[in-house]
């Protein structure tokens, strides 16, 4: 027979034990502490585009196509440069002939199908160039829609395509709000900017950053507070494209205006 005192003691013990979280029994693991200490070494690749510096020479597009073996004369490219010409009557004209592979060498705006638009210099309110590439979103919609797990995000934040696994359904091409994906004309699988994964993981800059004479393109580690790119993003007035989609792009732009889409 249990008396009241025993009953109280035992219940306190029982509930006390139950209340101790399971985690308390986990042995102390030194590697987890080391991982926390190494936090500064973690990498999240980010990109900074300074549209004020871009001159529209197109060397970045040329370098990207050659470096990444995207057929040079095919009408597709992993990166491109857009020209924006805003006229005084409020109209915006955008073109990017051949993805600007050969640069912008004429004032005429390419309308496609061999047609061109002449704008008088006096009618121009502003003109500028905007380089575009994959935003390597933190919430990549293109990855979510892949039915076979052929496209994915690496630990350091780069979205890649597994060429051996892609079935070429094209959902990701439709899913990308920025239109950066296309079918590779040779492999017939989805193709996209990889931030030159083979270069950045060896400590080199991407081919486009390497080719830009004016520093309009920069790549850096967003997890390193001393990285010049990170410092600019933290302290200057940077902007991202199509924020309303909630994709959290990791390509940041200096000098964007409302005309840029």
């Amino acid at each position: 027979m249990m008396n009241r005192r025993d009953f109280c003691k035992k219940s306190v013990l029982l509930f006390g034990t139950l209340a101790v979280p399971l985690a308390a029994f986990e042995l102390f693991d030194p590697t987890s502490l080391l991982a926390e200490k190494n936090d500064g070494k973690e990498v999240r690749w980010g990109f900074l585009v300074d549209t004020e510096k871009c001159v529209g020479c197109g060397f970045c597009v040329k370098a990207c196509k050659i470096e990444n073996e995207v057929p040079y004369n095919a009408d597709v490219s992993r990166t491109w440069v857009e020209r924006y010409v805003v006229t005084k009557d409020g109209k915006t004209h955008i073109d990017s002939p051949k993805a600007a592979r050969d640069g912008f060498t004429t004032e005429k705006i390419a309308l496609g199908e061999g047609k061109f638009l002449d704008i008088k210099p006096d009618d121009i309110a502003k003109g500028f160039f905007v380089p575009k590439l994959c935003n390597q979103c933190d919430n990549p919609p293109c990855v979510q829609v892949c039915p076979v797990g052929a496209t994915y995000q690496t630990k350091d934040g780069v979205v890649l395509v597994d060429r051996t696994w892609c079935i070429g359904c094209g959902y990701c091409i439709m899913g990308c709000p920025y239109g950066v994906r296309f079918f590779h004309p040779v492999y017939h699988v989805a193709e996209k900017c990889t931030f030159c994964y083979h270069r950045i993981t060896k400590g080199m800059k991407t081919a486009c950053v390497n080719a830009c004479p004016f520093g309009a393109r920069q790549i850096g580690n967003l997890k390193d507070p001393d990285d010049p790119v990170t410092r600019t993003i933290m302290t200057e007035r940077v902007n991202i494209l199509k924020e309303e989609y909630g994709t959290k792009p990791q390509v940041f732009y200096l000098g964007l205006t409302k005309e840029v889409r």
Partner: protein, 157 residues
């Protein structure tokens, strides 16, 4: 129960068995949920290594410095100092082993990428002296008169 009731079940079981077998053989061992979780990280881990193994072609200007120090020094003291050699000469790859020489592009197209005058005062283009390619000595290569590695100079004849 009668046999014809069970028969479809056997068929279904057989199909399931075949699918499982094919999956076992066909799906690589390193396929699975990696660092970024099920939503973004579901992939074959070996694909990352495939991309890392892609060949590098552009080697950057510092690579040229030792062998072409004359050109390097000329360029670095000129208004063209910011332009990487490989923009004008193409990717180095394993030059000088393969290819033994790089492209020398003397076309006007190369120079007018930057020097064709465009009326956009707000862009970086406004800081580069511009010419109208249709009136500035048309038909002649720019390098006949301008030395590309230091454009302040006249071309070496």
């Amino acid at each position: 129960m009668r046999n014809h009731v069970w028969r479809p079940l056997y068929v279904v079981l057989f199909i399931v068995a075949v699918v499982l077998l094919v999956r076992k053989v066909y799906v690589p061992k390193d396929f699975g949920i990696q660092d970024r979780g099920y939503m973004y990280g579901f992939h074959r881990l070996g694909s990352e290594a495939d991309w890392k193994a892609f060949p590098v072609k552009y080697r950057s200007t510092e690579y040229c410095r030792d062998c072409h120090s004359d050109k390097y020094n000329e360029l670095k003291q000129s208004p063209h100092a910011v332009i990487p050699c490989e923009d004008c000469h193409g990717p180095a790859m394993n030059h000088p082993d393969d290819p033994p020489t790089l492209t020398i592009d003397r076309s006007r197209k190369l120079c007018i990428r930057c020097h064709a005058r465009l009326p956009y005062p707000g862009s970086g283009r406004a800081n580069i002296p511009g010419i109208d390619p249709e009136t500035h000595n048309p038909g002649a290569e720019c390098v006949l008169c301008h030395y590309p590695h230091d454009p302040r100079r006249e071309a070496k004849k």
